[in-house]
Amino acid sequence: MRYAILCYNDEAVTSAWSKEEDDAVMEKLEVVQERLRQEGKLGPAIRLLPTTAATTLRKAQNLVVDGPFAETKEQLLGFYIVDVETLEDGLQIARDLAVANPGGAYELRPIALFLPGIEMT
């Protein structure tokens, strides 16, 4: 059984951490992550950049808006990780996906840290 563990916190607070505080948190997390890796339980782990860097595509209107997806009546149902040169390339992929699956929105948020984890097949 695979689970995604989604991380929530107040980004105004976490981005007020000093580098030392941030490093200390990451170090403590790494202890847990290393154990999970040993146990063969840890897949990819990702840290996202702040929502101020996000861009949202509203699929129905093909409308691009600044900022994160803010509605509450839709739920987070999944995500893709893509490797592209520019935001425009990322938006093009999102539009292609939207043709296949209209309805709702895609939020594009740059990734700060990508830990691949163990291979899960």
Partner: protein, 416 residues
């Protein structure tokens, strides 16, 4: 677990601009607002570890600060002595509606106003920076004094004087109209960039003391973008600061010598900041409303995207500098553009481009440094030596002088 001291510290830091600015609107007095915030922080340090952190730290601090400020006013006017521990109970019930009221434009205009009063036109740039760091960011007078290489007492005095001037300024407390809001935002963006530039120092020793400035400026930039999420120039400002700061670790070698962009170890560049900066400049460009911060960020982005110095898209950088010259005509912009021109058209063209600037930039270190380097590339060694000598005489720091001396040494090496 979330009430450990580091979390509380970060929560107080991040809530400060919102809380102090709301208290300022309430009391219309900066000293009183700051005092009330201090008081609220002290109570938070006592209450949060015991009762757990509030859902919305800023709303909690505003409410407690407002009550303690009122108590202070009452005590001073001898109407009523009111130690109000009871205020702290059942606070969560009051907190939610208050937080809702804080949301939206009030909160946005509050923070904008607080930053805006720091940009008082009568204050010299350095004092604007000092006051903003003290009031908005809450850096200690000692930290600020250390960064500006003055005594704590001298800095304290400067900040007190600056605050007195601000107190007389009479900034309107009504919500600003759209034109005034845009004007305030531009002034505030400028002071944030000033803070950033004060952190962008030319020696390692200074870089250490001033490192918090650049980080604080980026934090304020992100805050502005949360308040104005669709402003392309704020995206540009943030991108510019992040892309420049991403190179901080590569700017000096182990001996404290300056390492030029072309020679920097790109492996030392901060990829996380680059990702955020590139995302922001790409977002900004979609608006097709260019401005000076966006153009400068676009230039920094071309450097960040180049895998090595030889891959740099100099023709595009030249075009962007040309656009910047149109928006912001300045001899320094032309001097920067000449670097791109030297790469695309050669040192002769670059030299011709900066020749008319001698009058305005004659006492500018970088002018003579660049001129010397073009002359050297052209093999005009004697003239290059004269230019480098003048640059050394005008250097702002030992590493700057040392960097030019390397050029002189290599000239001597070629002749001798």
């Amino acid at each position: 677990m979330t009430t450990d001291p580091a979390w509380i510290d970060a929560a107080l830091t991040s809530a400060r601009p919102q809380a102090v600015s709301a208290l300022l609107r309430y009391f219309r007095d900066l000293d009183l607002a700051e005092e009330a915030f201090q008081d609220a922080c002290l109570r938070a340090l006592k209450s949060w570890p015991e009762k757990g952190p509030p859902r919305d730290p800023a709303a909690w601090l505003i409410l407690v600060g407002r009550n303690s400020g009122i108590d202070g006013v009452r005590r001073r006017s001898r109407l009523q002595a009111l130690p109000s521990e009871e205020v702290l109970s059942d606070l969560d019930d009051v907190e939610a509606p208050l937080a809702e009221r804080l949301d939206g434009s009030d909160y946005r205009d509050d923070i904008l106003r607080l930053l805006f009063i720091c940009c008082h036109p009568d204050l010299p740039a350095v004092q604007q920076v000092a006051v903003a760091l003290r009031i908005v960011s809450g850096l200690s007078v000692r930290q600020i004094a250390r960064a500006f290489l003055v005594s704590e007492a001298a800095m304290e005095q400067r900040i007190t004087r600056a605050k007195a001037k601000i107190g007389q300024a009479n900034v309107a407390f009504e919500a600003p109209g759209p034109a005034e809001r845009a004007e305030r935002l531009a002034a505030v963006a400028a002071v944030v960039y000033l803070i950033f530039n004060e952190g962008y120092s030319s020696t390692v020793a200074e870089a250490d003391a001033r490192a918090p400035f650049a980080e604080e400026a980026i934090r304020l930039g992100r805050l502005l973008l949360r308040l104005f999420p669709t402003e392309p120039e704020i995206m540009g400002l943030d991108a510019l600061m992040m892309l420049q700061h991403s190179r901080a670790a590569a700017r000096f070698d182990e001996n404290g010598q300056i390492v030029l962009l072309d020679d920097q170890d790109r492996g030392l560049w901060n990829r996380t900041l680059i990702s955020e900066g590139l995302a922001l400049i790409d977002k900004a460009m979609r608006h097709a409303a260019p401005g000076p911060y966006q153009v400068q960020a676009a230039i920094a982005a071309l450097h960040a995207r180049a895998a090595n110095a030889a891959d740099t898209d100099w023709p595009q950088i030249d075009r962007l500098y040309a656009a910047l010259e149109q928006m912001n005509p300045s001899p320094v912009v032309t001097l920067n553009r000449s670097v791109a021109v030297s790469k695309t058209q050669g040192p002769e063209a670059a030299l011709a481009m900066i020749a008319p600037l001698e009058g305005e930039l004659g006492s500018y270190f970088y002018f003579h440094g660049a001129r010397g380097s073009y002359l050297k590339q052209l093999g005009r060694k004697e003239e290059a030596r004269v230019a480098f000598d003048r640059a050394i005489a005008l250097a702002n720091s030992a590493p700057e002088a040392a960097h030019i001396r390397q050029h002189l040494d290599s000239l001597a090496g070629e002749t001798g």
